[in-house]
């Protein structure tokens, strides 16, 4: 593991940049556990201070340090985004691989369900669900709901990979080697599906965070919890952009863009690394 990391850092510029970016933002987000003030505390600092030596990223109109707010916000947002991504990946992999491998009626049934869910406009449905759940809609519940809406397109991609694997000889061979369906799917097929999972995970993460921001901006979020969407919400409430408190919004957005850039570079370089073709080349095939 460590060797792989070292190799990738040394030989892949994209990975190195992505790794450094992601790691620094992760460490920055992690730092919120040692924040000097609780992240929900307000008006303990002078409001509206522009970036300075004392407040690197300035303070908000609510008297909070943008730096520490961001730190918490990135942490919480990533937690949400990753929860959605992981949950929806699990669903997408399970449905996609089963559908592709089992084929026939199972495939038809699962894909019909899948295509039906794809065509449902998810923002209106999410809003409705939020509306119903009200304050029992904590972020894990929201994440689960989003995950339920966010897997179908990728399940289709995964299915198509599995479908082609199903017709490969080694799959039939594995059956006659006595392997069970889970064994075949996990041991034999998953390595081929991994690149798709990684690639779609990026888009899913972006989608999930966009969702969080959308709901927050519309006012459907837990405002006690600092998130990127929450920061935008509060900045909005204080008309920060109009009032010239640009640092309240600009820094979180820059952080998110950098984070995505980092994750994207990581994803493509890791993808290249785990891609069967390059893996085989590396192994000397």
């Amino acid at each position: 593991m460590f060797k792989i990391l070292r190799d990738m850092l040394r030989y892949n510029v994209e990975f190195a940049i992505g790794f450094v970016l992601t790691l620094s933002i992760f460490l920055f987000a992690l730092a919120h556990f040692w924040a000097p003030l609780p992240d929900t505390a307000i008006y303990l600092l002078p409001p509206d201070m522009p970036p300075s030596a004392q407040y690197w990223f300035g303070t908000t109109s609510r008297g909070q340090d943008v730096l520490w707010q961001m730190s918490s916000a990135i942490w919480n947002t990533m937690l949400f985004g990753l929860t959605v991504t992981v949950l929806s990946r699990l669903l997408a992999v399970a449905v996609g691989m089963l559908s592709g491998y089992l084929g026939g009626r199972w495939d038809q049934a699962l894909m019909t369900l899948n295509d039906t869910m794809i065509a449902l406009p998810n923002i209106p449905i999410l809003l409705l669900v939020y509306f119903v759940m009200r304050d029992s809609m904590s972020w894990p519940v929201l994440a689960a709901t989003a995950a339920l809406l966010g897997w179908n397109y990728d399940a289709r991609l995964i299915r198509s990979v599995t479908l082609s694997l199903r017709n490969r000889e080694f799959t039939r061979h594995a059956v006659f080697a006595g392997m069970s369906v889970p064994q075949i799917l996990v041991r034999q097929h998953l390595p081929y599906v991994m690149p798709v999972i990684f690639f779609t995970a990026m888009n899913n993460l972006i989608w999930a965070i966009g969702l969080e921001v959308t709901l927050s901006v519309l006012g459907f979020s837990d405002i006690n919890r600092p998130t990127i969407g929450g920061m935008i919400y509060w900045a909005n409430q204080h008309q920060a952009i109009i009032a010239g408190i640009w640092w309240w919004i600009a820094f979180p957005i820059i952080a998110i863009v950098l984070l995505f850039l980092g994750l994207f570079l990581l994803a493509i370089s890791v993808n290249e690394y785990i891609d069967p073709r390059s893996r085989l080349s590396r192994m000397g095939a």
């Binding site: 000889e169 080694f170 061979h173 594995a174 006659f176 080697a177 006595g178 081929y192 095939a285």
Partner: protein
């Protein structure tokens, strides 16, 4: 005498087309033959693509159910095998060899995973040493040893080696029948012989019956005991290999045998020049 494998009037239809004017394609028509369990043999099915030979093989292996007719393996109706336990029991007795040795093993996992899985599942072995022993024994049959194979990936081995390992893997449960679907069409001429020679060897030494499926008449002639020639689902000719292939009667069989280019430039060139005129 008891039948190892018995096909009686086996038919297989595929439905093609859609809701409004679907058609039925009969891929296999009324195929019957019997393999005797007391007399191991190499039974060859010859045909071009679309002849139904692969469908027949798939039905024998239980991957497809016949539309009508029965396939019995050691007295048991293959199409009636449903539970996973029965299926495993069946697979322990009938094993396949596939076409492309490079494709037979997942390039991303070590080859021994397939071997060990076979040994564990069909022989019920738990103990690592016993698994190793069973695997090594099977590899010895094909002139290899576990030491050469352990921890290797498919790209590290040659096509011939891989095909041998595939055969060895099939041998682990000590099957009665091996179904080999075009096992040499993807390997080089120099390796082709080593594989077909191996089949002969298995038949003679281990008493395994082999169903050899091919479009290559010359290797069919080389190793087969009995042969059937299939054309668009029909068995057009059947019998002892040397007789059928040496002196084909059916027009299709004859065409097929004439289409085989001889490995001799003068003769081959004549055939081609004749075509041009």
């Amino acid at each position: 005498m008891s039948a190892l494998l018995e096909l009686q009037n086996v038919n297989k239809d595929y439905r093609i087309g859609g809701f409004f004017d679907s058609a039925t394609l009969r891929a296999v028509k009324n195929v019957s033959f019997t393999l005797d369990s007391s007399k191991p043999e190499i039974f060859t099915i010859v045909g071009e693509s679309g002849s139904g030979k692969t469908t027949t093989a798939r039905m024998i292996l239980g991957n497809e159910a016949p539309t009508s007719g029965t396939l019995r393996f050691m007295g048991q109706d293959i199409a009636a095998i449903h539970s996973r336990a029965d299926r495993l029991k069946f697979m322990a007795r009938a094993q396949p060899i596939f076409q492309n040795p490079f494709e037979a093993f997942n390039p991303l996992t070590t080859i021994d995973y397939f071997l060990f899985s076979t040994a564990k599942r069909f022989l019920g072995l738990r103990d690592k040493a016993a698994v190793d022993a069973a695997t090594d024994k099977a590899l010895n049959h094909v002139g290899l040893s576990l030491a050469e194979v352990r921890g290797r990936y498919s790209h590290e081995l040659s096509g011939g080696q891989l095909q041998r390992i595939a055969v060895a893997r099939a041998l682990i449960p000590e099957p009665k029948l091996i179904v080999a679907d075009e096992p040499v069409s993807m390997v080089d001429a120099s390796l082709r012989m080593s594989i077909v020679n191996l089949f002969r060897d298995l038949r003679d030494r281990l008493g395994v019956s082999i169903i050899y499926i091919t479009h290559d008449l010359s290797t069919a002639y080389y190793i087969s005991d009995r042969v059937i020639i299939m054309h668009r689902g029909d068995v057009v000719e059947a019998g002892v290999a040397q007789e059928v292939l040496g002196n084909p009667q059916h027009p299709y069989s004859r065409a097929l045998s004439q289409a085989v280019l001889p490995p001799d430039p003068e003769a081959a060139r004549k055939i081609i020049m004749a075509k041009i005129q």
